[in-house]
C-alpha cells in the first residue's frame, strides 16, 4: 500500500511538472505569435506586391492593386483548386492590365504556380514563377533569380502565336527550353497558354470590352 502511494506521488509530480512546462511555453509562444503575426502579414503583403510589380510596370496603373481584384472560381484553365484573386490594374479608373495566377500541375516534381500579367489586348506583359519544387540546378531555371528564361513569354499573345506554336521547340513550338529539363518547360508553356485562353473567355468580367 505504501508502495502504491509512493508510486502515484511520482506520477502526480511528473504530470504536474509537464503541465507547468507546457503552460509556461504555450504562454511564451502565444506572446511571440501575437507580436510577430501582424508583421508577418504585412511583410507577406509587401512581398506579394513586389511580385505583382514584376509582371506589370508601375507606370501603367495608379490604383491600389492589392485591393483591386475579382474572385476566380476553380476552373479547368487556371487549374486552381480554391477561389483565387485576379488582380485588375487600372489607370484613372480605366482597366489597363490584369494579373492572373495560373498553375502547371505537371511539373517534374509537383505543381508550379505562375503569375501572368496580360494587357487589355491579350499580350503578355510579364511572367513570374512564384512557387515550384523543380530540381535545383536543373529545373529551377524557370525561377527568375536563377535564369531569365521566364521572360521569353513577354509580348506573346494568342494572336501572334498560334495554338500549335504554344509549345517548346522540341515539340515544334516557338519557345526555347533547357535540354534535360523539357518537362518543366513544357508544363510552364502550357500553363501560360491556358492563362491566355482563360483571359480570352473571361475578359468581359474583368472589365475589358475590346
Amino acid at each position: 500500500m505504501n508502495n502504491f502511494i509512493k508510486k502515484n506521488r511520482i506520477v502526480g509530480r511528473t504530470v504536474l511538472i509537464m503541465v507547468i512546462f507546457g503552460v509556461f511555453f504555450s504562454t511564451i509562444l502565444e506572446f511571440v505569435y501575437t507580436n510577430a503575426n501582424p508583421i508577418i502579414i504585412k511583410s507577406e503583403a509587401e512581398a506579394k506586391e513586389r511580385l505583382l510589380l514584376q509582371v506589370i510596370s508601375k507606370d501603367i496603373y495608379n490604383n491600389d492593386l492589392i485591393n483591386s481584384f475579382i474572385k476566380i472560381k476553380p476552373n479547368e484553365k487556371l487549374k486552381n483548386k480554391e477561389v483565387i484573386k485576379g488582380y485588375i490594374a487600372k489607370n484613372n479608373n480605366k482597366v489597363t492590365a490584369v494579373i492572373l495566377e495560373t498553375r502547371a500541375p505537371n511539373g517534374y516534381s509537383g505543381e508550379i504556380k505562375i503569375l501572368v500579367g496580360i494587357d487589355t489586348k491579350g499580350y503578355i506583359l510579364g511572367t513570374r514563377v512564384i512557387k515550384h519544387q523543380e530540381t535545383p540546378g536543373l529545373g529551377d531555371f524557370i525561377d527568375v533569380t536563377k535564369s531569365d528564361w521566364i521572360n521569353i513569354f513577354t509580348y506573346s499573345s494568342l494572336k501572334n502565336t498560334s495554338q500549335s506554336e504554344w509549345a517548346v521547340k522540341k515539340d515544334q513550338g516557338k519557345f526555347d527550353y533547357i535540354s534535360g529539363a523539357t518537362i518543366t518547360a513544357r508544363a510552364v508553356v502550357k500553363a501560360i497558354n491556358e492563362s491566355l485562353n482563360f483571359f480570352k473567355e473571361n475578359k468581359l468580367e474583368m472589365g475589358i470590352d475590346v
Partner: protein, 208 residues
C-alpha cells in the same frame, strides 16, 4: 573547458563527420554554399539557446520524462526562431523555408541537450551548443561548396538573396559553358560527398 568544447565541437566530436547526427537536413539542403551556411547558422543558434536554457532547469526535470520536456523546450524555441525570422527577415525565411521547423527533429540538438546540457552547468553548455553548432555549420558549408562546384560550376551564388543585394558580386562562376553535373546536386551526391568528407577526416586522424 572552453578549449575542450572547441576541439570536440570542431573536430574530435564533430556532429557532421564523427557523430553523424542530424544527417537529414545535412544531406537535403547542402546543394550550395549559401543554403548550407544559412541552415548551419540557424541550427547553431537553436543549439546555443536550447543548451543554455535547459541547463539551468535541469534539476527540475524528472528523469522519467526528460525527453518529452526537452523536445517541448526545443520545439518552443524553434517556433520562436521561426516566427521571428518570418517576421523580421522575410528573404531568409523564403530561402530556408521548411528547414527551420525541421530543426526540431534534428537529432543533434536533442543529443547535445540530453548528453551534455542536462548534466553540466550553463556556461559550458552554452559553449558546447555554440561549437557543436559551428562544427556542423562548417561541414554544411564544405559539403555545400563541393556540391555547388561540381553540380553548377559556381561558388557562393545566391548570397545576395539572403544577405542583401550588396553581396551579389561574391558569386564566382568557374566555367563559361558548364552543363552541370546532376549527380552532385541530387541526394546521392550528398551521400557521396559526405562519404568523401568522412574518409578525408579519418585519413587525417590516422596520419596523426
Amino acid at each position: 573547458m572552453f578549449k575542450a568544447a572547441v576541439i570536440d565541437g570542431l573536430w574530435k566530436q564533430n556532429p557532421g563527420t564523427i557523430q553523424l547526427l542530424g544527417l537529414c537536413p545535412t544531406l537535403a539542403i547542402t546543394t550550395n554554399v549559401i543554403n548550407g551556411l544559412s541552415l548551419g547558422l540557424a541550427t547553431m543558434f537553436v543549439m546555443m539557446i536550447a543548451n543554455s536554457s535547459i541547463s539551468p532547469i535541469r534539476r527540475f526535470v524528472p528523469d522519467e520524462v526528460r525527453v518529452p520536456i526537452f523536445i517541448l523546450v526545443i520545439a518552443a524555441l524553434v517556433t520562436i526562431v521561426d516566427l521571428s525570422i518570418h517576421a523580421f527577415a522575410e528573404p531568409l525565411y523564403k530561402a530556408l523555408g521548411i528547414f527551420i521547423p525541421l530543426i526540431v527533429t534534428n537529432c543533434i540538438v536533442l543529443a547535445r541537450v540530453e548528453s551534455f546540457a542536462s548534466k553540466n552547468p550553463t556556461l559550458p553548455s552554452f559553449y558546447d551548443g555554440l561549437f557543436m553548432g559551428l562544427g556542423l555549420c562548417f561541414v554544411l558549408i564544405i559539403l555545400g561548396g563541393m556540391r555547388e562546384f561540381l553540380g553548377q560550376g559556381t561558388l557562393f551564388s545566391g548570397f545576395d538573396l539572403v544577405f542583401g543585394q550588396s553581396l551579389s558580386g561574391l558569386s564566382i562562376n568557374f566555367f563559361d559553358q558548364y552543363s552541370g553535373f546532376l549527380l552532385a546536386i541530387l541526394p546521392p551526391g550528398a551521400f557521396l560527398g559526405l562519404a568523401f568528407l568522412i574518409a578525408l577526416v579519418n585519413w587525417i586522424d590516422q596520419k596523426n
